[in-house]
Symmetry: C2
Subunit: 501 residues, 2 copies
């Protein structure tokens, strides 16, 4: 006679298999699918996701959860089984009020919106995307209402990405960041001419870019036996199990930094997924603690490690072998300063560490306005451009470089953007802790040795999957709360040196 916990696990394994199937369909959609396949794919995704949802929210799941909770009383808080029941009950209570038909319709509408967004961006034609985005916003509001919230609809969505976090908390952290960042950007911009990045105003052949990125990925510890790398229009990471984790890269011959730092960024995400204990696979615990924690891993590798001077002390000579002509006469200091040039710009994914978060504040505010119907989709491009001027002092010359630049809204991912900024904060908090515990970490990085860092991240963060809320995990790892102060201190120290502030 099997226990309720065992039967619960069987059921959750089915849900997880369906979610993994949907992830494969999504990966294929972005990496391989021929253009004519999108309509059919929208149906396939909608059916698979709706079935996963309905299996999860069925009364039987609730029943099994109650019984399994009783069976696991007394187990340690951080045991696999207690964590599974706790995290799943939380999910169940949120999701069980979302009707299957809404899940299916959102999936279908988003799959088509994705296709429309791609075309709209190519043609820089917001009007082509607008009706799709209107449908997405309507359905997302319905989704937030079904999930339920106390203060504002944004809370319901934010909680999908940052469990237990409130919009008001995010707004408070963001205000603290703004107070530190805006004057920093201002003083840097005044002295900005002093950094020379002409080294990047050249063509870098695609194959050599790919090969160097792969070399760094291998050094980071990305496991190609349990993963792969492809090209796609928008880089992303997806994991179907800890043993099948895939990243994608976009290579631009005339924008060398994009593929390099993009690859390292996705590599950081991938190490998280590959580092989760295999025992958590096929359960809801095979996931990041939050999207912000996930982002902390990508940003830690991309910015703190790979935009650091130590890293390039090791890799610049290697990079020179791939691009002897382009890097002739470029010394470490020039290169280091070039990859850390601060300049208010149009595209979030290409922004430097200092101005990056300003792009997030803008999106966070616009999303709230859309969800509370204070802003119509039709007026979004204008509102976008006004906020770009306000926060960054630049105005997009067209919508492709403005409101159409990100895929997230086409996917229905309103509420996701804050996770990027929270990830930036957490990356510094986590790295500072690792540095305290690994005595010679900078020296290791300077030798291109990442085993100790990767091991520390795995042991302290990756292995747990979604066992803990982000707040719990931050407490366990750092002994304190999430805070903007370490991030601001890191930026001030690094950029004071670069810009001689």
């Amino acid at each position: 006679m099997s226990t309720s916990l065992e039967r619960l696990k069987e059921r959750l394994a089915q849900v997880s298999d369906l979610s993994a199937a949907a992830a494969v369909l999504g990966w294929d959609q972005q990496v391989n699918m021929p253009p004519g396949g999108s309509d059919a794919r929208a149906h396939h995704l909608a059916t698979v996701e709706a079935l996963a949802h309905s299996l999860f929210i069925a009364g039987e799941t609730g029943q099994l959860l109650e019984e399994a909770a009783a069976e696991t009383t007394g187990l340690p808080y951080d045991s696999d089984d207690a964590s599974l029941v706790r995290a799943t009950r939380r999910e169940y209570e949120k999701l069980r009020h979302v009707p299957e038909s809404l899940v299916a319709e959102r999936t279908r509408v988003c799959a088509r919106a994705f296709e429309a967004w791609e075309q709209a961006r190519t043609e820089s034609n917001f009007a082509h995307f607008q009706p799709h985005l209107e449908r997405v916003v309507d359905l997302t509001i319905q989704y937030a209402q079904a999930l339920g919230y106390e203060d504002c609809p944004y809370d319901a969505l934010l909680d999908r990405y940052e469990p237990e976090m409130k919009t008001a908390q995010v707004a408070e952290v963001f205000e603290e960041m703004k107070a530190g960042l805006v004057p920093l950007v201002q003083v840097i911009t005044e002295r900005g001419k002093s950094v020379d990045d002409t080294v990047f105003h050249q063509e870098y052949p695609e194959q050599a870019q790919w090969d160097f990125g792969t070399l760094v990925l291998r050094d980071m510890g990305f496991d190609f036996k349990h993963g792969r790398q492809d090209r796609s229009a928008h880089p992303f990471t997806t994991g179907f199990s800890p043993r099948d984790v895939r990243i994608t890269t976009r290579i631009l011959p005339d924008h060398f930094q994009s593929a390099l730092f993009g690859t390292i960024h996705e590599g950081g995400h991938a190490l998280y997924d590959q580092g989760m204990r295999v025992e958590l696979d096929r359960t809801p615990l095979f996931d990041g603690a939050s999207y912000g924690v996930h982002e902390s891993q990508s940003r830690l590798w991309e910015n703190i490690v790979a935009r650091g001077r130590d890293f390039w002390g090791h890799y610049l000579p290697r990079l020179r072998e791939f691009f002897p002509r382009q890097l002739a006469g470029v010394d470490l200091d020039t290169f280091y300063r070039a990859i850390n040039k601060v300049e208010p710009s149009l595209i979030r994914t290409e922004a430097d560490e200092v101005t990056y978060n300003l792009h997030i504040f803008l999106r966070f505010e616009l999303e709230q306005e859309l969800l509370e119907r204070r802003l119509a989709v039709a007026d979004l491009p204008q509102a976008w451009n006004a906020k770009m001027e306000q926060y960054l002092g630049v105005t997009p010359p067209d919508d492709a470089q403005g409101v159409l630049q990100d895929v997230h809204w086409a996917h229905g991912g309103l509420g996701y953007f804050p996770s990027y900024a929270l990830g930036n904060l957490l990356s510094v908090q986590f790295y500072n802790q690792a540095r305290e515990e690994i005595r010679d970490l900078p020296e290791q990085v300077a030798r291109g040795q990442f085993g100790a860092l990767r091991g520390w991240l795995r042991e302290n963060i990756h292995t747990h999957g979604k066992k803990f809320t982000p707040a719990e995990l931050v407490q366990r790892v750092t002994g304190g709360e999430m805070s903007a102060a370490p991030f601001l201190a890191y930026l001030r120290e690094k950029y004071s040196e670069i810009y001689g502030l």
Copy 2:
């Protein structure tokens, strides 16, 4: 108020979406998946296929089918709706006795067997595959019993691939073929030295092979907007909808014919899937009439068209542009004879038109022995080799070139092989009919123009999907029954000329 037919269609669309998702997972498994991903993938596939199955065989489907049958009484036999209800009822009556757990277990066991087979074939180590194949055979016997049969377990499996056909009928057709083929092979083998194929004993660069294959695919009318081509260890075609049809190719630098004729073969399959009416998508009618009919399409293009003299009158000059060194001094007659060299050999997929079916007879007989437990899996290699000697006069030097050469058994596809031979018969019957109806077909082929042939196939075969049983379709298209006589006549005429018989 929706009709039962409408509700039935909704339900079948969900089943079809799940099957398409499984097909994407299967394609990815063979084309992209990193080696470590196979365990997880086995679970994903098992869950998706078991859910598709249980949704299909649920009592509600049966209820809706009965009601929809009443609603569609009086519609023309070949109408979409009448055909949908008729074909689906037939499927339902067969499949509803197969338990979901058996479907899940077979899928899981086969996914692992596939992996074991790949390794076993690489190492030519049957022992590594044997325990997996034993499980597959056991589960396939259980599957046949669940499906039900009157005469022999093979009937139940054969019916999955060739609806309404019996093992005894296949045996009868095969006896007729044998009676014609065995003496033909014998007389050709006696004169075999007269065909010179040294042109193929050279290296052909992979990229040029790929590019020429793509050129032919485009001329055939393969629609790359609604399909794509990749490389894989074992070439295959899969369709997720008529608008997303994918083929794979295996390229061997030292075996030029493999990729070329393999690509055209899969292209023939792909035209069938791309040619089905879009209205049939997301129903059980988006499928071939049978696997034999599907195979008739690939063999028609591969053998009758692309191993014909007319075809190479047009393409040999083009091929020479891709391989000027390899084809220097090779004239049309030499090339035509070389691609049609008849020689008993070890590998089914590389066999010529004349000896090909002998490979099928052997598999057909061994499968029946396995299913009736007259042959143990452990004794299979020996039995294989004995039959190779009997039918083809050759003995495999190792199991990789013998019993391990085909993927089908690893996938649980016992009962599939006869479809290849039936496809060979049908390809000639269909082509003869097309030739009667398209006056200047040979002249068109000689100009590399395939529009009329493709249009005829689409209108007479592709467009109908699975509306008709193979027997019905053959009757509609040719006005008669399936027969070995036209195939044998085609071979005798073609090879009498080549071998001067």
